[in-house]
Every structure is written in C-alpha cells, then in structure tokens.
C-alpha cells in the first residue's frame, strides 16, 4: 500500500442540475420525470419579517439573468397591496429597464445556448470557431442590454436603483438620449439575428400548448395586463392562485405549477407571449416576423428561437420609443402610504422566459408576513416533461447518448434556469 498525492487542478463546472428518468415498456413511454436537483433556496421563508421595501433587492438575487423581473413583480405586488398607483414616466422607465433585461437575456439564450444545438456544437465556444461573427453579434447585443440596465439600475446584474413606488434616481433626458445610438446599432444586430434564427433547420414538430401570458389592451406585455390563456383563462393578474397551483413532485426539488382542478400543464414564455399578443408587436418587429414567415401562433417549440429574436427587436424598438418621449419625473418615486393593517397584493410580470408571479402579505408596520414566488421555470416544468415525453415516443430508436442530446435540446427550447449548464441532464432510461 502506497500513500501518494495526485495533483489535479480541476475547476468545478455547473453541470448535472437535472436528471430525466424515462420508463419504456413494449416501445411505449410509460413515464417521464424531470428531476431538478438544485436545492430549495428558501427566499420565501427568509423574506418573512423583512421590510416590504427590501423585497425588490432581496428577490433580485434569485436570478443573475433576470433580476429586473423579480424587482418588477415584487414592486408591483407591493404597490397593489398598498393601493398605490404608479404611472407616467416612472412606468415608462420601468418598461425601459425591463427592455434592457430582454435585450441582454434573449441574445444570451439565442447565441450562447440555443444556436449551438441547431448548428451541431457542444457549446458556443466551439461554435465560435466556425461562426465567430454570430457569437460576437450575440455578445454585442447582450452588452447593449446590460449597459441599459446599468444606466437605469446602477449596475448590470442585480440593479440597485429600483424601489417600491419608482426609482431612487431617475436618469436625465440627456443621459437617455446619449444612449440612443447604442440602441440604433443594436437594432441592426437584432434584425440580423431574426434572419439568422429563421434560417436554422427546425424539426417539424408542433405541440398542443395552453399558452399563458399577460395581455394588455394596447401594448406587448411587460408588467401590466390581465392573465390570459389560449384555452380561456382571463383573470386579473393578482388572481394567479385562482387558476394555477403549485404541486410538489416527489422526485424533484423544484415545485411544478399546473392548472387548478385539472392538473394539466401550460406554457409560459416567448411562444405564449407572442401567440397571445401578436397584434401588439411594434412596427419593425411585426414587419420582420412577416418577412421570415413567422405564423401568428407558433407551436413548434424549436422555433421559439425566432420568436426570441423578434422580441429582441421589439424590446429595442420599445426602448427607443420610451427614450424619445422621455421627460424626467420629479420626484422619481411615489411615496408609499404607511402600513396600518395587514394587506395582501400579487403581481405578474413577463420575465424573458415567462410569467413570474409574486404575492405578499404585509403586516401593520410594513414587515412581510408571507411571500410566494412562482418562477417561470417551475411553471413550465410540467409542460417540458410533456414535450420530452412526446420526443421520446418519437425517438425510441435512438441510442442513449443521442436521446440525451435530443432531450437536452427539447428542454433548452424553453430556456429553463437549469439550461445554462452545458450538459445539464443525466438520462436514466428503463427499457422493459
């Protein structure tokens, strides 16, 4: 027996966040279980007892890609609980900040996560050898989104300028005008992106989704509007709990959301937003969608990459609109009223990957008594299982590595939080 030291110097990588268990009997898929290993993070628990004013900054830490979504859902939920009305230029600034998040998040998924799947590369680094311009374009677009978040939020990740009632500081007209050229350049990149994505090869698959998103009477939704679905839901956004519920799957740490009563899955995110709000796209986004032949309702999950590109154009166009009409609000926030009794408020906003629901109960004095946060990934999780079940049924002849790759692609279509790991899936197939 010899004792010795083995040098390794291996850097940890984020891989294996999920596992997919598939049970096949007589060439029939009996069960599909998507397991998410990431442990609970207990945000809802440790918000209790904190001031309601802290919620935007605490919940922003839930995600480094879409912190604005957490800030927007939390401030709107608090304002609804307190009976506050926040409109005018503060509302416009919130939309502008949210546009920044879409502009940084969508290209990240399109070029660094999704495109390598279509073009046959394990990741964007390998793809960059053959498609350097595409990867550079994606990074340049993402940088513009991040810069816009910095301008409005104080920093690009986990912004610090958002507060209940508005912003700690509103930018000057000149500060926003100075940013305009970056958005004009970004528009050219985004237009190229729409054509780039539309030219990818797509599997010929359609799914019967129940699409769920916000819908506003006159604009593509970010924070306002009712909660609607393609199968008949139409409720105020703070009534999420009336139509959906979270359930605990015994095999996964992440909660799943389902339709209340029937327990069926539904889909949130770009495909849903687009299908339910196609008529509210901005002119250039609408024109590009027509140019590349994008149907008014897209049921092919792989083509979500094109919808993301169209939404990026929308976000840039909307950002330009807001900057062009901007007048600096003074004061930059609406003062919240004192909290004298227990109040409850809920709100939904459109994170890049789908609706994000927050609900809070605030006690007298302003401390949070109860918090509920339902992220888009958990709302899509059951639907992703359905997609994967259909995929496996169509692909039983594939060997396990090929099937694993196909399942990862099917999951990545919906941009779940786990998909930023290159190889996030451990496939366990039980064939009988």
């Amino acid at each position: 027996m010899t004792e010795r030291t083995i040098g390794i110097d291996y850097i940890a990588r984020v891989e294996g966040e999920g596992a997919l268990k598939v049970r096949i009997q007589n060439n029939h898929v009996e069960d599909v279980q998507l397991k998410i290993f990431e442990p609970p993070r207990f945000f809802e628990a440790f918000l209790r007892g904190r001031s309601y004013l802290e919620a935007p900054d605490i919940t922003a830490r839930i995600c480094g890609i879409c912190p604005v979504a957490y800030q927007m859902s939390s401030v709107h939920a608090m304002e609804r609980a307190l009976g506050m009305k926040v409109g005018g230029q503060i509302r416009e600034l919130r939309r502008l900040l949210y546009c920044g998040e879409w502009i940084e998040s969508h290209p990240l998924h399109i070029f660094l996560l999704h495109a390598p799947d279509f073009l046959g590369y394990p990741d964007a680094i390998h793809m960059a050898k053959d498609y350097p311009d595409a990867v550079k374009l994606g990074l340049a677009l993402k940088k513009v989104g991040n810069s816009l978040m910095t301008l409005l939020g104080g920093r690009e990740i986990h912004p610090i300028n958002v507060r209940v009632g508005g912003f700690y500081r509103a930018p000057t007209v000149n500060e926003l005008k100075a940013f305009r050229p970056q958005l004009v350049e970004a528009m050219k990149l985004a237009e190229t992106t729409v054509h780039f994505t539309a030219d990818l090869d797509f599997p010929n698959i359609e799914e019967d989704y129940e699409f769920v998103s916000l819908r506003h009477e006159r604009e593509y939704p970010l924070c306002d509007g009712d909660l609607v679905s393609s199968k008949g839901i139409k409720v105020p956004q703070d009534r999420w709990d009336d139509v959906f519920e979270e359930v605990q799957a015994p095999y996964a740490n992440a909660l799943q959301s389902v339709r209340k009563g029937g327990g069926t899955s539904y889909l949130v995110g770009p495909l849903a937003r687009y299908a339910l709000n196609r008529d509210h796209l901005s002119p250039r986004a609408d024109q590009l969608a027509r140019e590349v032949g994008l149907e008014n309702v897209v049921r092919n999950p792989y083509r979500s990459v094109v919808v993301r590109a169209v939404e990026t154009v929308y976000a840039i166009e909307e950002a330009l609109r807001i900057i062009d009409q901007y007048e600096r609000p003074d004061p930059s926030w609406v003062e919240p009223p004192p909290v004298t009794k227990s109040v409850t408020g809920g709100a939904v906003s459109e994170a890049p990957r789908g609706i994000l629901y927050h609900r809070y109960r605030i006690g007298p004095g302003g401390l949070i008594e109860d918090a509920k946060i339902v992220a888009p990934t958990s709302q899509n999780q059951k639907r992703i299982e359905d997609d994967v079940r259909h995929l496996v049924e169509r692909s039983l002849a594939l060997d396990d590595p090929a099937l694993t790759n196909a399942c990862e692609r099917a999951i990545r279509n919906h941009d779940p939080c786990i998909s930023c790991a290159t190889h996030f899936l451990k496939l366990d197939i039980e064939r009988r």
């Binding site: 027996m1 010899t2 083995i6 390794i8 110097d9 291996y10 984020v14 290993f37 993070r41």
Partner: protein, 92 residues
C-alpha cells in the same frame, strides 16, 4: 446557487481520478476557493460532506485554501487541487 451541482462535479472528477489511480482509499482532499467565488469555507464544507456521502471520498480530510486575490484568473471558481490516496500503485 449551483453549489450542489458544482460540488457534485468535483466529486465526479475526484472519483474518476481515484478510480484511474487504483486508489483503495482517499485520505485527503485539497480544494482551492477563489476570492470571488460565491462559496465560502464553512458552507463549502457542509455541501462537500453531503456530496461525498456514499463515495470513495467519504471520510477523507478536507483542506480548503481560500485565495484573497480578486484578480486571479480563477477568482470566481472552486478548484480541486489534489487528492492523497492509498493505493497499490507507486508515485506517478
């Protein structure tokens, strides 16, 4: 976030190395934590204890070196530096 996945990845790597080297037992593991890594020492130890349960690494002593250099190119990472093993093979 991602603590479990990161630690599981390090454990998989360490197990693979131990197997390759014919290790009967791993006696010591050295980890290096960058100055800007989101994993801190005590938290890392807890996650590590959970991650190695039931593996050849269970029971091995863990040494954690924490870097204070935020400009280190690996400052945001956690690294598996080395393993001490008991094995039939000689020093490689």
């Amino acid at each position: 976030m991602h603590e479990e996945a990161m630690l599981a990845d390090l454990v998989r790597k360490a197990e693979a190395v131990a197997r390759r080297e014919g290790a009967k037992r791993v006696t010591r593991v050295r980890l290096w934590v960058g100055a800007r890594s989101h994993l801190a020492g005590p938290e890392l130890k807890d996650h590590w204890a959970y991650a190695v349960s039931g593996t050849v690494l269970a029971g091995a002593q863990v040494e954690i070196e924490t870097s204070s250099d935020p400009n280190d190119p690996n400052a945001e990472t956690v690294m598996l530096r080395s393993l001490d093993v008991d094995s039939a093979k000689g020093r490689s």
